[in-house]
């Protein structure tokens, strides 16, 4: 009978070797970062034995670099470390506010950005913010390292693009250009500790006259996967982000949505509220972009 095992390799090569070895032998192995989703799932969804491969000892998953040409956030860094980083907050405020919305102080002490992405919940709060900022997944595997845009990483409810022997090392961003900023908003019926009914992440770039020259809009909890909505971005680009443009972007989000009805909200409600969140997030991102140089 298969029993639980734990491995905490110190190099990426060792992690890949452990994952491949298990895969070839038909033995289940699962990657552990903060464990705030994984351990709950083991306890309440699928308690079957497996090898837990802890990736927190790798330098690559712990590296946080906010450089002039690249921003890199290691996949296993806990939220509390990221939200306390004033440099990251200054560069990607919307991403940091998305991270900060997840769980309690205790959860923030463990839950990682990479884990939130790999868990691939339709309501994962950081995913729209990652997509709005054109985050690129750095994936290591037997064939070497590859890069994948975040919007292509999530393949379905709870599934991602990681193949056999692969792991997510971190996420890269091109540092925001001048007059560029982002915002993330979600709606929950409580003030804290809940899962998004709908959410929207927006990044905008303005020219010196305040005209939007680039935008990315991403929405969550309104489809099986978090969506990039190019039509919403197109509605913003070339405008001064006036009410009409914001309304058109919101309408594009509604049109892109295919939500379910559940205890958190009806499909009809989600389609409506996602437009409001898009409009407001775009407004906040624009205000931040005007204040940044």
């Amino acid at each position: 009978m298969q029993s639980f095992a734990y491995a905490a390799p110190e190099t990426v090569e060792q992690v890949i070797a452990v994952l491949q070895e298990h895969s070839q032998a038909g033995k289940p192995a699962q990657i552990l970062a903060g464990g705030t989703d994984l351990l709950v799932q083991i306890r309440s969804v699928d308690g079957s034995a497996r090898t837990i491969v802890d990736v927190k000892k790798l330098p690559e998953t712990n590296r946080l670099e906010i450089g002039a040409s690249e921003i890199y956030v290691g996949a296993a860094i806990p939220g509390a470390v990221l939200t306390a980083n004033t440099d990251l907050k200054a560069r990607l405020p919307g991403l940091v506010e998305a991270i900060d919305l997840i769980g309690s102080t205790q959860i923030q002490g463990r839950a990682s950005l990479g884990g939130n992405l790999c868990n691939a919940s339709p309501a994962g709060d950081t995913i729209p913010a990652l997509i709005a900022n054109a985050g690129r997944c750095q994936i290591a595997g037997p064939a070497g390292t590859r890069e994948l845009p975040v919007e292509e990483f999530v393949t379905g409810v709870g599934t991602n693009a990681l193949g056999e022997g692969e792991l997510l090392l971190g996420i890269c961003f091109t540092p925001p250009a001048a007059r560029t900023s982002d915002a993330y908003l979600r709606f929950i019926p409580r003030t804290e500790m809940d899962i998004a009914v709908a959410g929207a992440g927006v990044s905008v770039t303005l020219d010196e006259k305040g005209i939007c020259t680039a935008a990315r809009v991403s929405i969550c909890a309104v489809a099986p996967t978090v969506l990039l909505v190019p039509a919403a971005a197109d509605a913003l680009i070339g405008t001064s982000l006036d009410d009409e443009a914001l309304a058109a972007a919101g309408a594009a989000c509604t049109a892109a949505s295919s939500p379910i009805s559940d205890k958190r909200g009806t499909a009809e409600y989600r389609r409506k509220v996602v437009a409001v969140l898009c409009k407001r997030a775009a407004g906040i991102a624009a205000e931040r972009a005007r204040g940044s140089h």
Binding site: S3, F4, A5, Y6, A8, L32, G34, G35, T36, L39, V40, I42, R43, S44, A49, I52, D54, K56, P78, A80, G103, S104, T105, Q106, I107, G109, R110, E192, M193
Partner: protein
């Protein structure tokens, strides 16, 4: 079933234990180290009853594996009172009757201490947000918030 040998520091003392890979740090604290002050509420990271400090960071010990404690430093409710007496938070929880059944109390005290150690003068909203991951089904929270505010005042050396 192979048990792993783990060496760790608990409340400043070096401790060793054997545990199975899937055992939580909470299980280890309670069942292997007999530190039963840390409570199990939900075992899914929602209630905060099992709050401990792991390398000076507040976590739910139910969502940490025992094997992950290797070479780490853990601080639990048992380490909060000193030889001189109770911690001001413990005294104020008693004084304000900020507990009834008591299952959530160790978690609240560990979490509140983590807050006051980094922010000696939090406002009520900061306290409420910080403690949002600690659930109490008896008191209704007001007494807990007042106890934390009063303890903070005492710790800042101000008369209450």
């Amino acid at each position: 079933m192979s048990r792993t040998h783990v060496t760790t520091t608990v409340n400043g003392e070096r401790r060793e234990f054997l545990c199975e890979p899937q055992q939580s740090l909470l299980d280890v604290l309670r069942d292997e180290l007999q530190l039963t002050g840390t409570k199990e509420g939900c075992a899914t990271g929602d209630c905060g009853a099992c709050s401990v400090m792991l390398d000076d960071r507040l976590v739910c010990s139910c969502l940490v594996l025992g094997v992950e404690a290797e070479a780490k430093s853990i601080d639990t409710i048992e380490g909060i009172a000193t030889d001189e007496g109770l911690h001001p938070l413990q005294e104020k929880f008693l004084e304000h009757a900020a507990l009834q059944c008591g299952v959530c109390t160790p978690g609240f005290i560990v979490a509140a201490k983590a807050l006051l150690d980094q922010n000696p003068d939090p406002d009520e909203q900061q306290i409420r947000y910080w403690l949002a991951g600690n659930l109490c089904r008896c008191t209704g929270y007001d007494k807990i918030i007042r106890a934390v505010q009063d303890a903070a005042q005492t710790m800042r050396g101000e008369a209450s």
